[in-house]
Assembly symmetry: C2
Homo-oligomer: 228 residues x 2
DNA sequence: TATTTTTAAATAGTAATACTATCATTGTAA
DNA sequence: TTACAATGATAGTATTACTATTTAAAAATA
């Protein structure tokens, strides 16, 4: 038995569904490789086209522009992560253990997932760490948001917020804490690797350190038995 | 008596010091206005040149490219903020009250500072909120960091970390907590205004909400008297 | 089977961007 | 007076981010 994972993407993200054609899947596969290699600003449709043996116009038939393509692959990542979270927390009763598991998933280096053929999740994780924020840090966030382009991210945030609330129904900031965890899982990792003095982890590239920090942050917030 | 605040910027940030000439000051003044208006991706030296009645080449004499200009104004902001933090915490004994003051400064809407002539701090604050991360989220972070372009940000982070450590010398993550506060002061505000479901603050644009969240986060982390 | 219609690929073209280079002019310091 | 730094004006280039047109292949219909 062979299972493959299909993620249904928001239709506003593309002009022609890239999952449905060979060329489309090539675009997804190699855009991830290329963005990972050059960074988003130096990434162009022309370079991508050359790499996969098609033309610029060919890619424009699938994606309106490179920003939409970024939002597509980043959204794909969040959807995949939500699925992963679901699978790994499904059989866990305790919301605390669920939360720990989630923090671990968020902050840990990813391995390529064999269930998906045309996406390298390890590269994609690194892209999201570096370029993810650029998906929404634009002048057109509001319109993009109206088109529900960020739904996967918001859904994941909501899922985690619900578990936070399970841990402590009286905690006042479940969503903000959730988005803080998600962002910081990426940023602290990025800082550790590139601007280590913004962290306490030196330059040792140890995911465990970030996990320790996030667990401390979250559980201290959720269970503050007394205060000064 | 009239005081003006001069911030000495890293010389690697510019080709010709913009503070020293009329044209240079015009560039700083109007780049802030223009980036605020169009967003960083649509901002070009040509548009800026037209606005201040010079030519593209004129601006290239001051800044190597628009990314350097962004790093310049963002760094200026962090230096200014560090100065502001210094002034407002100087006479405070208690590190806890210092921290609260800092959180308030970080998360509150800024008024234009009359001490500086050619910078509108209110606009700059909004720019940093939206574009600040783009200063370091690039392929060339490492080289930029070697040139010490991010020193003001790192210094501010260090200053706050020191106060955190004063509050609780045993706390293990002063720097990471510090960078978390700084980033989240901006991000939670950005989310509140643009993607409110990532926060618990609705769409009410009330800085106080973000301050409440951050204070809760920080002090819970620093004073966790007991834990599950 | 021939013909039409749809779909996709290839080619070409454009306006704007991100620069670089050159040379003339003006104002200031030696 | 001269020199020299700063600006201004003009031009030019490679690349980017697209659009439009034409051409060819595939699918549907007569």
């Amino acid at each position: 038995m062979e299972l493959t994972l299909q993620i249904r993407m928001n239709e506003k993200l593309f002009l022609r569904n890239p999952e449905e054609t060979e060329l489309g899947r090539e675009i997804l596969l190699h855009s991830i490789v290329l963005i990972h290699k050059t960074g988003f600003e130096l990434f162009t449709f022309k370079k991508l086209a050359e790499k996969i043996g098609t033309t610029e116009a060919g890619i424009y038939r699938y994606f309106e522009n490179k920003h939409r393509l970024l939002v597509y692959i980043v959204s794909w990542y969040w959807s995949w992560l939500e699925y992963k979270v679901m699978v790994h927390t499904n059989n866990i009763k305790s919301p605390e253990i669920k939360l720990k598991k989630i923090i671990q998933i968020l902050a840990t280096e990813v391995k390529d997932d064999v269930q998906t053929t045309h996406v390298d999740e390890r590269l994609l994780h690194e892209i999201v760490r570096m370029e993810g924020a650029k998906a929404y840090l634009t002048r057109h966030v509001t319109e993009d948001n109206k088109q529900r382009l960020f739904k996967p991210y918001k859904d994941l945030c909501g899922t985690i917020a619900a578990i936070i609330q399970e841990c402590n129904p009286k905690y006042k900031y479940p969503r903000s804490l959730s988005s803080t965890i998600i962002e910081m899982a990426h940023y602290q990792n990025f800082f550790m690797r590139n601007l280590p003095s913004l962290t306490d982890f030196g330059n040792i590239k140890d995911d465990g350190k970030v996990i320790g920090f996030l667990e401390n942050l979250v559980f201290a917030s959720l269970y503050p038995l007394k205060r000064k």
